[in-house]
Each structure stands twice: as structure tokens, then as C-alpha cells.
Symmetry: C2
């Protein structure tokens, strides 16, 4: 018996290491395509059926960072608007395996399906489907399908397709296909989904098929990217068989026909490779794809499967969180972490899209979500991935410099609010380009990265340059305003809260810019002292004067912060406290999210927040505020926040934990951890909510465990303030910090810290400084 | 010899009552099409050549308010955005008269043109063209063309085309055409011009031709408007002639061929009628058009010409301004007034577009320009036209109510920022829908109208209802804000200055809203007392509670105004004084207008104004501010204003006059009066600048003559503070006020006031109260 969780009827049983579906229903297909999506940060395959499905759904395969560009048309254009879209493309469909029993085509909606189970295995990284099918003519087969998108081999996917006749001997035919006739979803009136494309934008350049091998190359129209998609097969059957291969206009197929016998399984292993001119030089795309494919076929499906499991074992060793006493949350946590891993780019050319590689929502763009939500997770589970994400920002630094010039800043860099390749793609600047805070968010992630890893090499290899260029931007953007006591003010920006736009002195932005400038100045001094050659080279190349570094500290020291003496709170911005409160009492539930029921002006002129804004600063800059300040500000902002953004609840959960609002912390956590599994926002079909998934991890580690990286005499100190929610018996997690693997376990009676790997480490528990040594767990 | 004026090389000689061109040059054609445009508020015909022209230009004919609607596509749509465009259409071209000498087609660019003159006659309302043409084969003809768009008959235009062979006898053929193959200019990247249409949107429904008569009907695709364009002809020739008429797919023609003799003129009179289903019921459009055309032909060209002159004589009697000592300004003033008359809708279904009926700029939309710039001119020259403009606002009040609901206001009306038929068409809300002040501008125009005419019937017939509905909107929009001392604040709007957007407490808006609410309350009481039936009917129909009327006064009494104690000035809005000044010193001249060289965010975050904002309030609410206040505020805002909007200079001129900055007043006036004649903004090709044209009149009357309608014990008092600019010898003007025609003449020695028509009138001269009686001019 399945109980309800969070008042939502559960969709999948609460299993610890899987997502399982036991009945196939057409109306759930679209949603399940997202939940059962597989990916490896490069390739993303929605959980569509190999044989296809004639019903609602989106037959999507995506390659992280593989996009088409188009000129954006505005009804009223203006100078400096984003000029081109960048849209993640739905690419060659390589999942297709149709099979025929005699002349009957297998189809989930024809004949009769029994003993059906589909399972996403979080430990092994395999999507399994098994069922018995009785064809309309009465032939019965047992079907077992395994699919993987290889985590260690990021251009490879594979499918094992096994069929066993149960009540007949006869011909069985497999048609394995690469289909180049693919297109994106078309634009709807919901700004969050859909593309501007009309029809197919990926043209097919070549098709080949030879024996068990076939390949299609496709090209984008404007970006001129080349994509090669290849497949090869291993066919395991005791019987004689025939093989034919075909290529037509837009697709290519390999067909196996076999005389099958009742009770004897037949297995087709399909190996798939995607490689593009974004990965390797265009001239070698095809050859390299063939090599990769050949290697995959040579090692075989079982080795790929083993290596997949090994990769995940290591991942879970560093990342797993256990919750005693709530299977539903346990499952939610793991699914979220699994999808994060599946979605994250690891090649420093790509980042992690708002929907990962599971759907087309937000056009596959990267936002600040990466640095503020996703980086912390990887920083403390797979820090090498966190570094890749930051390297991506260095890779697009030139584009950010260009953008700064377009925005009238003679120096510095301004990162695009949303982009794939670095160019600004936000078409609504008040909730786009105006969110200058992305600059400081990136700088903050670098600071966190260096603190949590000790990896100073990243600073030398680009990190410092990002810090300098972002700091310069703030110095140029802000001004010392006489009317504000000569303080350094940052006007005309939008903070994280998108229900307030283009304001002066957004407190979050000013605080983060302050840190950005201070840290840039600190790193400049450090680099001068420790890598003076590198400093000289960078300073010369970007024309950095030492007076600028002083100007950063001066601006930081004089940073204006809007503070209300009467309420003793920080105002979200200069104007926030002068607005009328939103009339929540007369806002019917169906009018949420507000942004699709009210004109922006109506929202903007009221005290209402879409998401954590100053409350996010309370979390990030925890050491800066007293507990009383945190409470007062939280108390003020919480009732004004709709959490219409999926980036919000986790932050409120974390701060609620910190200030001892444990019930609230728990309630917010409940909203985040199973958002996609329960489809509580009713749009999981468009893809998973990556930031929220990362937020679940943050709510656990920063929230319930109260983890912070504090500063102790300038050195980072790992600190905890653990709390056990009442409804649980305990929880435990592993995390990585400065080369150590630390385990924290919390139950009713004790908190246990253990050092699993690495040298001894100072930690703080509820403010008390302790030393953690290997094989000497601290039980407190 | 022509001298320079305003440092601009003059284009046309400085003639008092004409605009004359003495050389035809292809590169000036596009610009001249606007300057030589004819119109009557319904029909607008650009000054294109009857025979056509194969070069840069826009063969445009427009019918005020005749538009096509399309769905607006946004790259990122949001709730409440304007949904449909409304675009003034280029309609059936009826100007075409081609003529052939034997087989040689007349063309200004072929053969040789001599004794060329084109003249727009401001006294008679005729566009004349005369020239001698020597064909490539050496045949010479004298050509004289007169064109009129009838001011008294607003569906009629006419052309008299006279040709006299000079050195040959031979065949002459006229092809007079209606061409339905018309389309609008296509969109460019300049948001101010161009449409979204692809190709032709006016389909031809029928064509007929019979004898000298022909007609085309065309239909718009989405609005489904029907347009009938007919022509008929009178041909005056002593010789035998043949007549044929033809209709093909998209056009219809009447062809006259005549055996002409040297020295004997041949004259073709062409009568044109445009009528649409916006004017009369669709079923009677064609018949009614035929009737109108028949009447025009019956009365004949000469009568039409006489009546045109009579109409203008009356107009100039009420409107003319003379300047002694500056022919260039004299000409500029008259041309501007003439184009205002030509462009203004007089049927209460239409208003006056930003480009009149002379071009496609701004899609033929009506803005606040009408009420704040154009209405004053008509109010004091042709008050019946001012009333028509206000009636138009009553006609679209329902649309404004709908818009208020979309913008989350449960009651009241919100006028569209730009529209033809009442629906909001602004696609960039920060400089569109956010300009709520249009509501108060309309209310203010009603107040001015009633004061200047004494016509209370308009209040009863709709005016009061507009006042109530606009007042309600303000009451709902604003809030009493504790943080602002409990004052009534209006947040999240844009004032007149479009270089500052979506701000709190724009001083202009708050002041005008205050007047709107106060006047609405006053008129409510007046209506209750004087027309209680009407009041009851309106109150019931719109659900107006008497408590609401109190709430208007309360809000007005508590209206917040941002005032800076240190600078002793009113802040343009809550945030304006907290911004950094624009760096004018480092802004190169080619970077103006700023809006096409800087991203909106860059502009918005600086102290820089596109146009008069608070300075406009200084003018409109002259009685509210002391002279010192006016000076201080003017001195503050003037250096921050770029006048990138053509609505700006005239207002600065008026206020400069008032505060005794006479040189500045003169300089600003110079920028306005000949803007289009000198093409100083380099875009007169796209149409005239209507608001600026009206601003010229305002600068004279409100500025140099210091005219204000003051309040004396609640009664309106016509007051003057005349000043004579140093460079002039004198100026004089007529104006209408409460049924009187008043003449004011200013020279070095005297100011003379004369009452030309009407009963005795109290006036004030430099603060002194005087009584003006007929035949008793006051010489002061």
C-alpha cells in the first residue's frame, strides 16, 4: 500500500534506489519521458520508448551545448537587446528499435501487455523495461530492454534489447534506426517552453549504412555545427539470421531478421555515438565518432554496464544521503542527485541547463542556477565537476567582455543572464540582462570553490581573471551618490527576485558585488605575491591598473545598503518598502504563479517576491548577520514570497533551519525534494527542475546539517549545526571538503562525524572546534 | 538670395503663404512627399507625383483611423501585453494620372524639365505644379497641375491636370488610374517606422469602370474593413476625343485620347472619393461613395477650389500668427498650423496621429500628443475640432475600461498609450502602458476645454464619465504608504520622460492625477446639482458610489510629491536624485538620440531626460509654483535634458519665457518652428512631427505672449504676459476664447488687445485686470 506524501498522490512506489513504474498509461507518458530520461552531461535521452509512441510526448535527444542560433525579432527593438537566440536542439533520434513478430509490429498500445515494469536504477545507471506482450494475433513474447547513456564515455549510449518467444516459433525482425527527421517543440505562449523554429533546422548531410554499422551527419543552419550520430550492433542469437542496412533521405536503418524459437532469447545490443564539431575539429568528427563507436562495440554492453555501475558507486560514495524514517524523501533526494549528475556538463565547454538534458524548457540555457544552486552540490561531492563548471565561465569570458561594451561599460565583463555559448539570449531585459548579480554569483562560486577545495590553480588558470573583470564591471556600474551620503550605489539592476525589476541598490546585489570586489582585490594581491608573472601577463592583457584594485576596495568599503531603521530590516532595494503590500487575501489560488496572471507592472509595484532575494543573502553571507537580524528579515520577507520560482523554497528551508524555524524548514524541504517525482508543478514533462534538485541537497546539508564554510583567521573552517527533523529517525551523508571525505550522521541521540578519506581536519560542531581524524569518529 | 536660418541651409524660399520648390531633384523627393502632403483629417495624400516616380519615396495615401490588426509576437510574452497591432494602412492610390505625348510617357526624369515650380498654397489649400517638358523626341508641353484634398468635404479629393502642346500638334493620352496594389513600408530596425506586414494586406474585392467613372473596393484581412475608392472625370478639350475604361486584377483605369493642337490647353479634372465601413454602414459604402463622387463632379473643380479657400480663410482668421522681422519663422509657423489642420480627425472616430496623415511613422497611432500638444491649438483656433478630439476619447472609453481590467484594476478606465481604435498597441510597456499619465492628460484636456469654451454640454455628453473613470483608476492605482508618511503614492509608472521608466511617484504624474481626481469630484458635484438625471444614469451604469468621490478628494489632498529640501526642487520621481548624472562631456554628438546608441538600462540608471517632464508640469500648473520655484526647477532639469523627443523644446521655450530666460526661449523656439521645413531631425520623409508643430503654436501663445487661462474666483480668466523677442519687430495673433475672437499684437512700443468677435471679456495683462470690448482696442 502506498501512502500519500506531502498530500500528493505518489506516482511511483517509494523504493530506495529506483524509480519504478508498474503500469503503462498513455496519459503519463509525456511526464515519464522526463523522469526516465538518461544523460551524462553531454548526451540526454528522454525516456521515450524504443519502438516509438503514438500519443502525447516529446521524442527528444539533446546534446548539451549543441544549439541553433536565430535572429531575435522584437516588436519594438532597442539598442543592446540580445540579438540572437541560442536554442538547444533536438538531435538525431538513435533510440529507435522496432521489432516485429512475423508481421506484427510491437506497440505498447496494441495487443496485451502484462508483467510490465519500467525502472530507473540509480545505483547502476540503467533504465530497464520488461514486459510480456501478447500480440493481437496471440503470439507472446518476453521483452527485456536495458538502456544506458554512459557516464564514463560521454559520447556513448547503448541499448540491450532482448526478446524471447513464449508460445511460438517464427520470424522476428528488428529495425534499428537513426532518424534525422527531428525538430524542436514549437513556441507556445508560455515563455518558459518552446522554440521559435519553424520546422526542421537540422539538415541531414550524409547517411551511410554498411552491415551492422550506420551513421548520419547533420548540420545546423546558422551555427554551422556538424553532428555525427552513429550506431553499431551486436546480435546474439543461436539461429540463422539475415542483416540488411538501408539509408533513405533522413534516416538510416539496420534490419535483423531471425528465425526465433520459443523459449530461446534473442538479444540485440545497439551502440550509439554522438559527436559534434563542438567536441572535435569538424574534419575529424566522423572518423572520431566511428572510433568511439568501434571501441564501445568492442568492449561490449556488459563492460559498459559494469563501468556505469562503477562510476556511480564512486559518485554515491561521495554524495549519498540517507534518511531514516522517510522512504519518499529518501527516494526524492537520490533521484535529484542522480539527475544532477546526468545533466551536468563536464567538458568545460558546457554547463548545466535549467532543465538539464531532459527537455527543451528555457531553450537549454545556462543561468545563475549553475553557480548558486548546482556548484555547491558538486563542490562537496565531485569537486572536479565544479571546477569544470567554473572553467566554462572562463571559456565565455570574452563574450562577457563584449557584452559589457555593448552595455556601455568601457572595461570589465558582464556575463549573459542566459546563454549557451556566452552571448546574451535574454529577450526581456528587466528579468534578464538587468540581473547583473550573475557576475557576483560567478565570483562567489569561485571563492567558494577555492575555499572548499584549496585548489588555487584554478585562480591562476583563469579564475583570477574572471574575478578582476567582474570586479571592474561593478566599479564601473556603481557610483558614489551624494544623495546617499556619498555611498557607492548600484542603480538600475534586478536582483534575484523577478517580481521586482530594475531597481536601485538591490541589497543582495550590493552585498554580493561587495564580496566580488573585495575578493578580486584580495586575489590580485595574492597573485602579485605568489604568481607575479601570471599577474603581470593578465594585468597587461586586460589593461588592469593597480589603482583599479584600490578602487574595488574603496567601493566595497563604501557600499550602500538599504536599511530601514523602523523595521530594523534590510530593504530588498531602495523602493521596496515604499510599495503597497500585495493583496494576498484576495488572490485566488488559481492566480499563481502571479507572472502568468498579472501584468509585470502590477506585480512590480507591490511588495511581493517571486523567490528568495535578501533571504538568499542571509544564507550566503551567514557570518555577516546576527541571528536576530536573520529572524527579523526572514519574518519580514517570508509572508511576501510566493515561491513562484523553483529556486526559492530550498533557500527558505535553509534559513529557517538556521534560525530554528524547524517546522518551516521541514515544510519547505518537502516542497523541494519530490517536486519532480510528484510533478507538483505540473510541468515535469518539459524537463526536470535542476536548480530545485540541487536545492534539495542544499536544504539537507546547509539546512538540516547546518553546514557552512566559515572563516577562521582567514582559513576556511567546515562547520555544522545539525538538527534532526522530528519526523525522521536520523540522516547521514558523505561530503568532500579540501580533499577529505567526511561522513556526518545524525540521529535522535548523537551526531557522528567521521573522516573517511584524507588528512585530519578541523571542524566546528555547534560552534565548538574539533579535530577529525581517520578511524576516530567523533560521537557527540 | 537665400540666407541661412538657424544655421540650417534652407530648403525652400522664405515665402509668407507658400512652400515653394523651384528645382526638382530626385534626392529630395522622399522628403518633399511629406512637406507637400495634402490632407483633411480623413484623407492624407503624400506629395507624390501623379505620373509616379522611379526613385526613393513612399507612394502613400492614408485614411485616418483605417488600419489593419495583427497578432503581436513577442520573443518572451507576458500577461497583459498588448495583443494586437493596429497599423494605419497605405490605401488605394488614386492620384495616378499618366500622360503620353504620342507614345512618349511623361516622366520628370526623362527629357528636359524647365520653368518648374511646385507650391503648396497655405491660403487656398492647393498643391500646384507647373513646368515645361521637352520630351526626348523634342515635343514640348506646358503642364499645370492643381491638387486638393477637400477640407469641407472630407471624403473628396480632386486633381486638375492641364496640358498644352507648345511646338506640335498630335495625340495626347491620359491614363487616370486607381491602383489597389498598395502596401505599407516594411519594418526596419528603427522602432519608429515600418510595419510588421509581409506584402499586401488590402485585398481587392471589386473593380469597375464605366465611361469616366471607376471604382475599386478593397478589404482588410483581419479588421474586415471595407474601403471604396472611386474616381470620375471631367475632360475639357475642344478636340474630338476617345474614352476607354479598363479594369484589371488590382487596378482600374480611365483613358482619354485626344488630338491636341499647339497652343490649345487640354484639361482633365479628376474627382476622387474615399469612403469606408468605418464611416458608413458596410452595405452603403459603395453607393454612398458614388453619391459623394457624383456631387463633387457636379459642383466641379472650381467650386471645390473656392470652398477650399473659404474654409481656409475662416481657419486663418482664427489661427493666423504674424511675425514681423523673420520670414523664415513666419513661414514655419504657418506651415505647421496648416499641417495640423490637414491632419486632425474631425469625425469623433479619429484623432490626430503622431505623423498626421502624412506618413507611416508610429503606425498612425494616437498618443497623449493629441491632448497635451494639439488640443490647445485647436481649443483656441477651432474649438469645435478640439471637442471632436475629446469625443474620440469618449468613443474609446469602453476599450479603456477593458484595459483597466487587464491591468488588474477592478474599476475605472486606463487609456491605451498608443492606439487607433482604443486597444493598447504599445509593445514596450516601460515606455508605453506604464505611461498612465495619459489618463490625467485626457482629463486635463477636458478641463481646459470646458474652461476655454464654456461648453458644459460636453461634460454631460461623456466628458464627466471620462473624468469619473480616470479618477477611479488613480484611486485604485495609488496607495497610502506608511513609509511615505501615509501619503498617497503612485508607484510603478513612467512619466513623460522616456529616459526614466517604471518609477515611483513621478511628480508630473502625481500632480496631474491630483488634478484629475479633484476635477472629477468637482464635476461630479456639479453634475449632481445641475443634471442630476444624467449623474444618476452614469453613476448607475458604471457603479459609481458617492464614497468614491470622497476618496478622490482624499487621495488628491494627500498626494505625495517628491521634494528635495537640499536642492529645493521637486524630484522627477522618488529615485531620480539618487542617480548618477549622465556623462554629457564624454557623449559624442553622434550618440544622440541616446535611445538608439545605449541600452535602456544604461539610460534609465542615469540622470538624463529625453524630454520635458517636471518642466511640463511647471507650464501646465503654472499657478501652483512660484517664479523662484520655476527657476530652480528649470535650472536643475534643463542641463539634464537631451530633447531627443520632439515634444520637448517647445515646453522648455514656454517655461523659459515665463521665467524671463528670453534667449533660451527664443533658441528653443527656433528648434521647433522650422523642424520639418528644415528637416532638422532628418526624418521628415517619414511624416511631419505633429506634436512639435503644435508646440510651435504653444511656444508663441503660451510662451512669448505668456497666455494662461487663470482661475479668478473659480471663473476662467484669459491672461497674458507678452514679451517680444529682440530679433523681431513685432508679432500678432488671433485666438478664440469662450466664444470671443481676440487679437493680440505686440511690437516694440505697445501691446494691443482687440476683441474682434463676441461679448466683452475680462482679461489680464501682466497681472492687471482689464475689460476688452468690441471696437475698443486696448493699447498698452
Amino acid at each position: 500500500m502506498q501512502r500519500k506524501h506531502n498530500n500528493v498522490e505518489p506516482i511511483y512506489p517509494f523504493t530506495a534506489w529506483d524509480v519504478i513504474e508498474r503500469e503503462f498509461r498513455a496519459e503519463n507518458n509525456y511526464r515519464n519521458e522526463t523522469i526516465f530520461a538518461l544523460g551524462n552531461g553531454t548526451i540526454g535521452m528522454r525516456g521515450t520508448l524504443e519502438e516509438g509512441f503514438n500519443g502525447p510526448g516529446c521524442e527528444g535527444t539533446y546534446l548539451n551545448g549543441f544549439y541553433e542560433r536565430e535572429v531575435i525579432r522584437y516588436p519594438e527593438p532597442a539598442y543592446g537587446y540580445a540579438e540572437h537566440s541560442q536554442t538547444l536542439l533536438n538531435v538525431t533520434n538513435a533510440k529507435i528499435i522496432q521489432f516485429y513478430v512475423e508481421d506484427e509490429l510491437f506497440d505498447m498500445t496494441q495487443g496485451r501487455v502484462s508483467e510490465y515494469e519500467r525502472a530507473l536504477r540509480l545505483k547502476t545507471g540503467i533504465l530497464e523495461r520488461s514486459l510480456r506482450w501478447r500480440s493481437p494475433a496471440g503470439r507472446e513474447v518476453q521483452i527485456d530492454i536495458e538502456r544506458l547513456v554512459s557516464l564514463p564515455y560521454r559520447h556513448v549510449a547503448a541499448i540491450r534489447y532482448s526478446v524471447m518467444p513464449l508460445n511460438f516459433d517464427g520470424s522476428i525482425r528488428f529495425v534499428s534506426k537513426l532518424d534525422g527527421d527531428v525538430r524542436n517543440l514549437s513556441a507556445s505562449n508560455d515563455p518558459r517552453t518552446g522554440s521559435r523554429f519553424e520546422g526542421r533546422v537540422l539538415s541531414v548531410e550524409s547517411r551511410s549504412a554498411e552491415g551492422s554499422f550506420a551513421m548520419i551527419t547533420q548540420r545546423t543552419q546558422h551555427t554551422r555545427f556538424l553532428l555525427a550520430c552513429g550506431m553499431d550492433h551486436t546480435f546474439i542469437s543461436g539461429e540463422t539470421r539475415t542483416l540488411e542496412s538501408r539509408a533513405d533521405d533522413l534516416s538510416t536503418s539496420v534490419v535483423y531478421t531471425v528465425a526465433a524459437k520459443a523459449g530461446q532469447p534473442i538479444t540485440l545490443d545497439k551502440f550509439i555515438c554522438y559527436l559534434t564539431s563542438r567536441d572535435v575539429p569538424e574534419s575529424s568528427v566522423q572518423d572520431e565518432a566511428k572510433n568511439i563507436l568501434g571501441n564501445a562495440k568492442t568492449v561490449g554492453f556488459e563492460v559498459l554496464r559494469d563501468e556505469q555501475a562503477k562510476y556511480l558507486t564512486k559518485f554515491w560514495d561521495h554524495a549519498d544521503i540517507t534518511i531514516e524514517g522517510d522512504d519518499a524523501l529518501q527516494q526524492g533526494l537520490r533521484v535529484n542527485m542522480f539527475h544532477l549528475l546526468q545533466s551536468v556538463g563536464r567538458d568545460s565547454k558546457t554547463s548545466i541547463a535549467a532543465k538539464g538534458v531532459t527537455g527543451e524548457g528555457y531553450e537549454g540555457h545556462y543561468f545563475w542556477d549553475t553557480e548558486m544552486y548546482v556548484v555547491p552540490f558538486f563542490l562537496h561531492t565531485s569537486p572536479e565537476i565544479a571546477r569544470k563548471l567554473l572553467e566554462y565561465r572562463y571559456r565565455i569570458l570574452d563574450k562577457a567582455r563584449e557584452r559589457a561594451r555593448q552595455m556601455a561599460h568601457p572595461r570589465g565583463a558582464l556575463y549573459a543572464w542566459r546563454t549557451i555559448d556566452g552571448e546574451e539570449c535574454s529577450t526581456y531585459y528587466p528579468a534578464g540582462t538587468a540581473q547583473y548579480h550573475i557576475n557576483a554569483d560567478i565570483a562567489f562560486a569561485i571563492k567558494r570553490y577555492v575555499e572548499a577545495t584549496g585548489d588555487e590553480s584554478f585562480l591562476v588558470q583563469g579564475g583570477a581573471e574572471i574575478l578582476f573583470e567582474t570586479a571592474r564591471l561593478w566599479a564601473d556600474l556603481g557610483s558614489y551618490i551624494p544623495n546617499k551620503g556619498g555611498k557607492f550605489c548600484i542603480n538600475g539592476v534586478t536582483g534575484p527576485d523577478e517580481y521586482t525589476a530594475v531597481v536601485d541598490n538591490n541589497a543582495y546585489t550590493n552585498l554580493m558585488a561587495q564580496i566580488n570586489m573585495r575578493y578580486a582585490a584580495e586575489i590580485a594581491k595574492w597573485l602579485q605575491a605568489n604568481n607575479s608573472d601570471v599577474y603581470q601577463e593578465v594585468a597587461k592583457r586586460i589593461g588592469l591598473a593597480s589603482s583599479e584594485i584600490e578602487s574595488w576596495n574603496k567601493a566595497a568599503d563604501n557600499m550602500y545598503l538599504p536599511y530601514d531603521e523602523r523595521l530594523q530590516i534590510y530593504a530588498q532595494d531602495d523602493s521596496f518598502l515604499n510599495k503597497a503590500p500585495w493583496d494576498f487575501a484576495n488572490t485566488p489560488p488559481e492566480n499563481y504563479p502571479l507572472l502568468i496572471h498579472y501584468h509585470p507592472l502590477v506585480i512590480y509595484r507591490h511588495q511581493v517576491c517571486k523567490q528568495a532575494d535578501f533571504v538568499l543573502a542571509l544564507f550566503l553571507l551567514s557570518e555577516r548577520f546576527s541571528m536576530e537580524e536573520k529572524k527579523r528579515n526572514y519574518d519580514f520577507y517570508e509572508p511576501l514570497t510566493t515561491h513562484d520560482s523553483s529556486l526559492s523554497s530550498c533557500v527558505f528551508s535553509i534559513v529557517a533551519s538556521e534560525i530554528g524555524y524547524h517546522d518551516k524548514a521541514y515544510d519547505y524541504f518537502m516542497e523541494t525534494s519530490r517536486m519532480d517525482l510528484d510533478d507538483s508543478h505540473r510541468n515535469v514533462k518539459d524537463g526536470v527542475h535542476i536548480a530545485n534538485m540541487a536545492g534539495t541537497w542544499m536544504s539537507m546539508i546547509y539546512g538540516f546539517a547546518g553546514m557552512r564554510v566559515q572563516s577562521e583567521n582567514g582559513a576556511p573552517l567546515l562547520a555544522f549545526h545539525p538538527h534532526l527533523p522530528e519526523k525522521w529517525n536520523g540522516y547521514a551523508f558523505n561530503m568532500v571538503f579540501r580533499g577529505r571525505l567526511v561522513r556526518v550522521a545524525v540521529n535522535r541521540d548523537h551526531v557522528t562525524y567521521a573522516l573517511l578519506e584524507g588528512e585530519e581536519l578541523a571542524i566546528a560542531h555547534n560552534g565548538e572546534r574539533l579535530t577529525l581524524r581517520k578511524n576516530q569518529p567523533l560521537i557527540l
